[in-house]
Each structure stands twice: as structure tokens, then as C-alpha cells.
């Protein structure tokens, strides 16, 4: 379980201080699919960075099964990220000089996962495993990023606008892969998006505005990637 208690985060000093998160509290159950909605500048990406241990909050606690990652030092947080979480970014961030297989190995080696080929197969790229990122389409690159994240066998998968750079068809495909794999492997998903339609796929949804949660709700029925609007 992930429990977030009164998180505050600001950037800049004194007069230029920009308060991005203003006392966020939240509880996320294991295996949950949480979508964080909000306009640009609402603080949703900062919340994702703080929750995933990429950044320290100014104040508050982030408890993963009782361990407060906000109190860990840099090396301990690195270990935490290594063991618990994985990321998928809008811009894919594949390593351009390595082929698909080696990009996936980046995640797999951390979890000592010898069977990383399964992750490549799961995203339907086994025939393109020796291709380099620039030889793939945007959707394929994002699928490599999914395989890389899943090969790490994470407990929590953080996604920052994963379909932001994709067209509708490819975006739906990518979301479909992610939700199917989540059902299969039962990891927790925390996804940041500005596309309100994607919220229909999630179990829990929070809507952020100006650094605070303005609305929080649970969906009774989850739609598939092909049922939601775009």
C-alpha cells in the first residue's frame, strides 16, 4: 500500500517561490490503477516525481508498506527505485545507441531477470528486437519502453503522459498493452495524463488543480482502451 501524507513541494526561493504541491494526502492500494488528471501546471507531474522518489518533498511522508521514502538518503532511494518501481515517459527515453533487446535488458538486469525476451514478446516486438530506436515508429518505441519497465518486474509502474506523443490508434494500442499486462502481473499503475477519457480505464481517479486534489473518485466499471473516447 502507498500512503501519502500532507505532501508539500515548492520551487524557487523567497519572492519567486512557486508552491506546486499544497498538502496532498492519498492512499493507493496494491494492484490499483490510479489516473492523475489535471491541466498543465496543476502539479500532477511533480506529484508523480515525488511519489516515485525522483524528488524529495519539502514536507510530508510517502509510505510504501510503512517505509517513508522521503526520509531515505540518496543511496537508499536508488535501491528503493531499483527494487520497487519502473517508469514510462511521454518521450520514451530509449537509449538511442542500443537496440530493442539491450534497451529492455536495462530494466531486466536490475531485477536479475534472465527471461527478458518474454517482455519483448508481450509487447509484440520479438521480430524487431535487434532494431535500434530510430528504426521504430513512435508506438513501437513506447512499447519498447513498456517492455523495459515490465522486464524490471516492478511493484509500481509510473507513467507520465504515455500516450501524449502518439496518435489515437497507437495510443489505444499502448494503453491496451499496459492494462492487459497489469491484469496479468497485478502491479500498481499510477498514470499522469491530461486526457480525461483515459480516466475511464482506471479504478481510481484524482483530479488536480493548483497543487491540490479537487476531486477524487472510483470507477465502478473499467472500460478497455478501445471503449473510451479520445
Amino acid at each position: 500500500m502507498i500512503k501519502i501524507e500532507d505532501i508539500h513541494k515548492s520551487y524557487g526561493l523567497a519572492d519567486n517561490c512557486n508552491k506546486v504541491l499544497k498538502g496532498i494526502s492519498l492512499t493507493i492500494k496494491n494492484g490499483d490503477f490510479l489516473v492523475i488528471l489535471g491541466a498543465s501546471g496543476s502539479g500532477k507531474s511533480t506529484l508523480l516525481h515525488v511519489m516515485s522518489g525522483l524528488e524529495y518533498p519539502d514536507q510530508g511522508k510517502i509510505l510504501y508498506d510503512g517505509t517513508d521514502i522521503a526520509a531515505l538518503n540518496d543511496a537508499e532511494r536508488t535501491k528503493f527505485r531499483k527494487e520497487k518501481i519502473a517508469f514510462i515517459f511521454q518521450q520514451y527515453y530509449l537509449l538511442p545507441h542500443l537496440n530493442v533487446e539491450n534497451n529492455v535488458k536495462m530494466g531486466a538486469d536490475l531485477a536479475k531477470n534472465q527471461n527478458y525476451i518474454t517482455a519483448i514478446e508481450a509487447v509484440g516486438l520479438s521480430e524487431k528486437r535487434f532494431r535500434y530506436p530510430h528504426e521504430l515508429s513512435g508506438g513501437e518505441q513506447q512499447r519498447v519502453a513498456i517492455a523495459r519497465a515490465l522486464a524490471k518486474k516492478p511493484d509500481v509502474l509510473f507513467l507520465d503522459e504515455p500516450t501524449g506523443a502518439l496518435d489515437e490508434t497507437t495510443g489505444r494500442q499502448v494503453l491496451d498493452y499496459i492494462s492487459k499486462l497489469q491484469k496479468e502481473l497485478n502491479f500498481t499503475i499510477i498514470m499522469v495524463t491530461h486526457n480525461a477519457n483515459i480516466a475511464d480505464m482506471a479504478q481510481s481517479v484524482i483530479h488536480m488543480n493548483s497543487g491540490t486534489i479537487v476531486k477524487l473518485w472510483q470507477n465502478d466499471t473499467k472500460k478497455t482502451a478501445y471503449e473510451i473516447g479520445w
Binding site: F87, H97, N102, H134, K152
Partner: protein, 439 residues
């Protein structure tokens, strides 16, 4: 609406076809004149002061090159003017040896340093095109010709002027001391210092012009990358795929062989980083070569020539290798900044991150060091046995083991220090800033 208005404006000035079929430019209206002026301004301003300041190492190396060449060539020119006064055979030999030393030092140091600067300049321009691919892509997409954009790169070449002019001035300021040291035994008649305008033109203006030309030409060559690749920021990331089927199949086979080796990610990463930037392998190898050869040579020079010569070689060797090692490491880390951020985000430790990027260069560094050691020994041996053969009282030359050990230990320390500086920098990086593109 904006787009529509713009297109209507364009149709008001159709390009005329001349009788020969060539398009002629419409007469320049004040509006057109202004836009032309703006175009030139943009193309000329593609380099910022910050970009040029990164060429500090080229300034240092060109300074060293011109400094050494000015001292020896000025001395040689002045020495030749007293040539007819030299009569006695032993003095004649001393005279010949000095002329020969001047020529060798100028050619070896000057030539070597200037060619290193040229390679570095090309490397910098390539790096600039890679890191500013999007901006250059936009300029190209807007219709700026490659040559016009490349002309802006002349600024890179102009920075050489700072180094050459400073080197020339510095050499002249210590020239009296140098002349006295060269003729410390008083074997030759007194040599007075003269100013040689041709020499200053050759050592200051010629390299500056040559480097400006090189910058423009190399920039032009690098800008031949298709616009879309530049806009996608893929100026040098693409692997060239040959057009014929046979070569393509060979590449496929090669890829399969390479990739089924099943190396762990960190080793694969290390290998691919070395493959990716071969010029950096060269720089690091060459920096180590310079360090090994010039440091050990400086120990021998104290006995064979003079303390001043030894000090000069020591300082140049140290500066050159330090600057090159630092540049190569900086470039490696900067070009892999996002990779490092991603590795850290995924949970790779600081040590794993810095090792995967930097430790691959250790082998080329020590290979360069070994070659440099052999080179300096061979060079000095030849100098003593062949060039100074006719001169009396030249001490015998043997391989200097203490000098070798001191150089090796100091090199290892210097290399580790640079790696340590960057390992710390990697540790302090903000993953969020890198991911948000705020490098």
C-alpha cells in the same frame, strides 16, 4: 487565419521567370530588405559566447603551438643571419645542431599541436551540430542554405586567433631569456632579437584563416544531414543503412552475431559508448600519448638540452593532455546525460552509472600511454645517436625507469582525479531537470 493571411502576402510577390528559364529575384522593397537583413543576422548569430567559450582548450593548444614555434623559428631566423660569421668546425656543429633542433621542435610540436587543434575543432563542430540539431533543422526548414548557416561557424575558427596572438606575444616576452639560455656557453656570437613580420603572419593570421575555413567547410559538410533528421535531433544517432541488399544482409548478420553474445546491460552500454564516439577514444589515447611522451621527454631534456627546454616541454605536455582528457570526459558525460538520468531513475547506483560511461576509456588511455613511452624513447635515442652524433659531450641516453614510474603514477592520479570529478557531478545531477529537458 494567420496562415491564410501569410499565404496571400506571398502570392503578391510571385517569382518571375526570365527568358533563359532562370528565376529572377523580385526588386527588394523596404520590407524585403529588412527581412534579408534579419536573415543574415540570424545566420550570423547561431553561436553564442557560451558556445565559443567552450573552445577554451583549442585556444590553449593553439597558444602552446604558436608559443613554441615563435620561440624556435624566431631564434632560427636570427641564428641564420649570423651563419656566415661561424667558422670553427665545433662551433659549426653546435650551430647546425641548434638549427636542426629548432626545425624538429617546431615541426613536431607546432605541427602536432595544430593538427590536434584542427581535429578538436571538427569534433566540437560535430558536437555542436548534434546538440543544436533542432535549431539548425529549423533554420534549414525555413530555407537557409547550408553554406549560409555554415558561415556562422567561422566564429569557432576565430577563437584560434586569441590563442595564436597570445602565444606569439608570450613567446616574445620571454624571448630574451630563451636566447640567453640557448647560447649559455657563449659558443656563438651574440644573437640579437629581431621582429619578423612574415613569421607573425604565418603564425597568427594563417592559422586563424585556415581554422575559419575549416570550421565553415566542416560545418557545411555536417549540415548535409536531412532536415527531418535534424528536427528529430538525430543528426548522428542514425546507423547508416547501405542501399544494396548484400551489404544490408551482412549488417543484419553482424547485428545478430553481436547481439546474441548476451552481454549484461552495463557491459553492452560500455561497449556501445566506445563504438558511438570513436573520436573520443582517439582523444583520450592521444592525450595519454602526449602525457607519457612529453613528461618523460622533459626529464631527459634537462640533461640533453637545458632546464628551460625541459620545463617548456613539461608545461606543454601537462596542459595539452589535461585539457584533452578533460574535454573528452566532459563530452562523454554531457552526450550521455539523459542516459545517466534514466539509469539513475531506474535504480542504477552512482558507481554503476559513472563506470558504464567512463571506465571504458581506461584501456585506450593506457595503450596511448604505452605508445607514448616507446615513442619518446625512440625519438630521443635517434636524436642522440643520429642528429647530435657529431657533437661532443652529449651524454648517453638510456631508458629512465624512475622518470617512467613518476609519469605513470602521476598520469594514473590525474586520470582518476578527472573521473572522480565527473563521478561527483553525476551524483549531484537532478533527474527531474534532465527529464524535463533542462540540462
Amino acid at each position: 487565419m494567420e496562415m491564410e493571411r501569410k499565404s496571400t502576402q506571398t502570392t503578391e510577390y510571385p517569382k518571375k521567370e526570365s527568358k533563359t528559364g532562370k528565376r529572377t529575384k523580385p526588386p527588394l522593397s523596404p520590407q524585403n530588405k529588412n527581412s534579408k537583413g534579419k536573415k543574415q543576422m540570424i545566420a550570423g548569430k547561431i553561436l553564442s559566447i557560451r558556445d565559443i567559450s567552450r573552445l577554451f582548450c583549442i585556444v590553449v593548444i593553439s597558444f602552446c603551438a604558436v608559443f613554441v614555434c615563435t620561440l624556435f623559428l624566431n631564434y632560427n631566423t636570427d641564428l641564420k643571419s649570423i651563419g656566415i660569421q661561424v667558422m670553427q668546425s665545433d662551433v659549426q656543429n653546435f650551430y647546425n645542431a641548434q638549427v636542426m633542433t629548432g626545425k624538429i621542435v617546431s615541426i613536431l610540436s607546432g605541427g602536432c599541436l595544430l593538427s590536434t587543434s584542427a581535429v578538436m575543432l571538427c569534433f566540437y563542430i560535430g558536437h555542436y551540430v548534434d546538440t543544436h540539431a533542432k535549431m539548425l533543422g529549423i533554420l534549414k526548414a525555413m530555407g537557409y542554405p547550408n553554406l549560409k548557416i555554415a558561415k556562422g561557424f567561422a566564429g569557432f575558427g576565430l577563437c584560434v586567433f586569441v590563442g595564436t596572438a597570445a602565444g606569439y606575444a608570450m613567446a616574445h616576452s620571454i624571448m630574451p631569456l630563451f636566447y640567453r639560455t640557448q647560447n649559455a656557453d657563449g659558443l656563438l656570437p651574440e644573437i640579437s632579437i629581431h621582429f619578423h613580420p612574415a613569421l607573425s603572419a604565418c603564425l597568427i593570421l594563417l592559422p586563424t584563416l585556415a581554422f575559419c575555413l575549416l570550421s565553415v567547410l566542416y560545418g557545411y559538410f555536417r549540415l548535409k544531414t536531412p532536415v527531418l533528421d535534424l528536427l528529430k535531433g538525430e543528426a548522428s544517432k542514425k546507423i547508416k543503412i547501405p542501399k544494396d541488399k548484400k551489404s544490408r544482409n551482412n549488417i543484419k548478420k553482424l547485428r545478430t552475431i553481436k547481439n546474441t553474445a548476451g552481454l549484461p546491460f552495463l557491459q553492452e552500454q560500455k561497449k556501445s559508448i566506445l563504438r558511438q564516439k570513436k573520436s573520443l577514444v582517439f582523444f583520450i589515447g592521444f592525450a595519454s600519448f602526449c602525457y607519457a611522451s612529453m613528461m618523460q621527454m622533459s626529464f631527459g631534456m634537462e640533461e640533453l638540452a637545458s632546464r628551460m627546454m625541459a620545463l617548456m616541454i613539461f608545461l606543454i605536455g601537462f596542459t595539452l593532455s589535461f585539457v584533452m582528457l578533460f574535454l573528452a570526459t566532459t563530452s562523454t558525460v554531457k552526450s550521455n546525460w539523459k542516459t545517466l538520468a534514466l539509469m539513475r531513475a531506474f535504480g542504477y547506483s552512482d558507481k554503476e552509472c559513472s563506470n558504464s560511461i567512463l571506465s571504458g576509456y581506461r584501456l585506450p588511455a593506457y595503450v596511448g600511454f604505452a605508445i607514448g613511452t616507446v615513442y619518446q624513447y625512440t625519438l630521443l635515442k635517434i636524436a642522440v645517436t643520429v642528429i647530435f652524433a657529431e657533437i661532443e659531450n652529449v651524454p648517453e641516453f638510456h631508458f629512465d625507469i624512475p622518470a617512467f614510474l613518476i609519469t605513470l603514477v602521476s598520469f594514473a592520479a590525474l586520470y582518476q582525479l578527472i573521473l572522480y570529478i565527473y563521478a561527483r557531478k553525476i551524483k549531484q545531477m537532478s533527474i527531474r531537470e534532465v527529464m524535463m529537458g533542462e540540462e
